[in-house]
């Protein structure tokens, strides 16, 4: 197990390096700099600016400098937000995104697993078909289409919930639901599939033969083995929620990290964009690592 963990840990490093090098190269090769303004800056000042930000050094030196700073948790100053470092911006945005994403993930798991289990218990019944049809709809409708439609229905027409902002818990309801719905659908489909398989196995038949109530069979016996595929889906689910949060935060005006990312991308805020990509990249890679460990622990037959 330890050597597995170590090998799995090492395999994350090249991914990270490629990610860093790629985004770094893209940002430096791209046309248009952060100091390109309509008014031409005198060349002397331009030079000073470039020197101050080390933009005059060869690329590999800039990359080395950047890596060195990253090791110390320093993402550099933002090119766009005056007087803020990227680390500060991430520090300000991430807790908001984490709250939103965490709640969405929780909702996705709870709702998805219960829906999937219900469908599996009533396999091929009308309930099953209706529920799985709805799950397919949930997968098909992207959350940036769903979110405005939900706002239109619940905030504009019915006026039950606020359309955006951040403050009271009610303002979180719509963003969390929009973010969670596609994931609920995936989790429900996965749970249904694996639950059906587990319910057919011998130990469940034995439990039934002994006259255990259905609820106890499900909760006490079937759930754990049925959840193994869900654990392996946690990685993609996290990536999905993080990506989704970019648009959802934009739509609902939530001041999270995703919103900074979009603003930074539109403003060519090099350090901020890079910082967010690296931050989320590390997050996803670390998370996948943990998920693989958990998976291996749940099911020692797994070879990776």
């Amino acid at each position: 197990m330890l050597s597995f963990a170590f090998r799995r840990f090492l395999s994350g490093i090249p991914t990270l390096l490629v990610l860093l090098a790629l985004s770094f190269a893209l940002i430096r090769v791209a046309p248009g700099g952060p100091f390109d303004t309509e008014k031409q800056v005198p060349p002397e000042i331009q030079e000073r600016l470039n020197a101050a930000y080390h933009l005059d050094e060869p690329l590999w030196m800039q990359f080395g400098r950047y890596l060195g700073n990253l090791m110390r948790g320093d993402f550099g100053p933002s090119f766009q937000y005056k007087d803020y470092t990227v680390t500060e911006l991430i520090g300000a945005g991430f807790p908001v995104s984490l709250q939103l994403g965490g709640l969405a993930m929780l909702l996705a798991l709870l709702a998805g697993i219960s829906i999937g289990t219900t469908a599996a218990l009533k396999q091929n019944s009308r309930t099953d078909h209706v529920v799985m049809g709805m799950a397919m709809t949930g997968i098909s409708i992207p959350n940036f289409v769903l979110a405005p439609l939900l706002v239109l229905l619940f905030a504009v027409t019915l006026r039950w919930l606020p359309a955006g902002g951040l403050g009271e818990w009610r303002s979180l309801v719509l963003p969390v639901i929009s973010l969670a719905l596609p994931q609920i659908a995936y989790v429900a489909r996965l749970t249904r599939g694996s639950m059906i398989e587990v319910l057919r196995s011998d130990f469940i038949r034995t439990a039934r033969a002994q006259g255990l109530p259905t609820l106890e069979i499900i909760v006490g016996h079937a759930l754990k083995p049925a959840l193994v595929p869900i654990v392996s889906y946690l990685g993609p689910a996290t990536a999905g929620i993080i990506t989704g949060s970019v648009v959802i935060e934009q739509i609902f005006g939530v001041p999270g990290l995703g919103r900074f990312f979009v603003q930074g991308a539109l403003n060519r805020d090099y350090t901020l964009v890079m910082g967010v990509v690296v931050f989320y990249g590390v997050l996803i890679i670390v998370f996948n690592f943990l998920v693989d460990l958990a998976y291996r622990w749940l099911d020692p037959r797994v070879q990776l």
Binding site: V18, S140, P142, V145, P148, S194, A239, V276
Partner: protein, 293 residues
């Protein structure tokens, strides 16, 4: 030679698949609906008296009306939303097909080479795929779009170049298992060259899996394009796509909900259809790999 079984016409994989697919009502409905959407999108200029960027200053943000032939209403500068929705569909579908074709080419070449070569070559090639696979893909596409301008061609390449990873993995896996089959061994023993083995025996047997995967990739790609356009990083004015229209519509939904609803419905229906067709094809062509549902 004379012992070959004759007198009974064989049933190919494709015959079986067609029959299975025909029995799948959801998939058949999806195919019909998708065909209808494609027809609508292709025939767009014949169906409306308006053009994509002509503005009707007399009728700004009017709801759907038959009297003026603005069947889906107009947007906030008086452009007809029916024709814009259909033209947006052209872009969305085109991006879906083109980017899928890019990913198909790279994926098949990469996967088949890795699988057939085996050994060290295979290991190195698949390690590269693994490394790229763990990248936050949407962020990379956004980076590409931000830094290299917002043109449609780049969307094809960016999305296709990143989406080929799944295809490569699937093709490699299939190639590995096919390589060990008796008929490949027979071909090799019969002196067929490796290139011909790949072309005549391996690739045709991959097509089933690839077809399934293509139908599932197209909606993903359409989704990515819409996502980018929604953020304002995709297709630029005066052209449009479903994602861009949904974005425009979302800004004015309180006063003109029709501007949001129509493109949203078209986008969702298309994704829905492709997912159902893909599921149906998977059941039909690849009965062993029947996963959930």
């Amino acid at each position: 030679m004379s012992t070959l079984v004759t007198g009974q016409t064989g049933r190919s994989l494709w015959d079986d698949a067609r029959d299975t697919l025909k029995k799948n009502r959801a998939a058949m409905t999806a195919i019909a609906l998708m065909g209808f959407i494609v027809l609508l999108v292709l025939a767009a200029p014949l169906l409306s008296p308006y053009s994509i960027d002509s503005t009707d200053w007399e009728r700004i943000s009017i709801p759907p009306s038959f009297a003026t032939s603005h069947w889906f209403g107009t947007d906030d500068v008086g452009r007809d939303l029916f024709i814009r929705t259909l033209y947006g569909g052209r872009i969305s579908l085109l991006v879906g097909l083109a980017a899928t074709a890019v990913s198909l080419l790279i994926g098949i070449a990469w996967g088949a080479t890795a699988g057939y070569a085996g050994g060290k070559v295979d290991q190195v090639m698949m390690r590269i795929v693994d490394v790229l696979y763990a990248m936050p893909f949407m962020f990379v596409v956004i980076l590409l779009m931000v830094f290299f301008g917002r043109n449609i061609f780049l969307i094809f390449v960016a999305v296709g170049a990143i989406n080929w990873l799944d295809m490569a993995r699937i093709v490699r896996g299939q190639t590995l298992s096919l390589k060990k089959k008796e008929f490949i061994e027979a071909a090799r023993a019969g002196g067929v060259s490796p290139a011909n083995i790949v072309r005549r025996h391996i690739v045709p047997n991959l097509l089933g899996v690839v077809a399934v995967y293509v139908t599932l990739t197209i909606p993903q790609v359409i989704l990515v394009e819409s996502f980018l356009s929604f953020l304002g990083l995709g297709v630029q004015e005066p052209m449009t796509s479903w994602g861009a229209l949904v974005n425009d519509g979302a800004q004015v939904m309180e006063t003109a909900p029709w501007a949001l609803v129509f493109p949203a419905v078209f986008l969702a229906l298309t994704l829905f259809c492709f997912n159902f067709i893909g599921d149906g094809l998977r059941d039909a062509l690849d009965p062993r790999d029947r996963r959930d549902s």
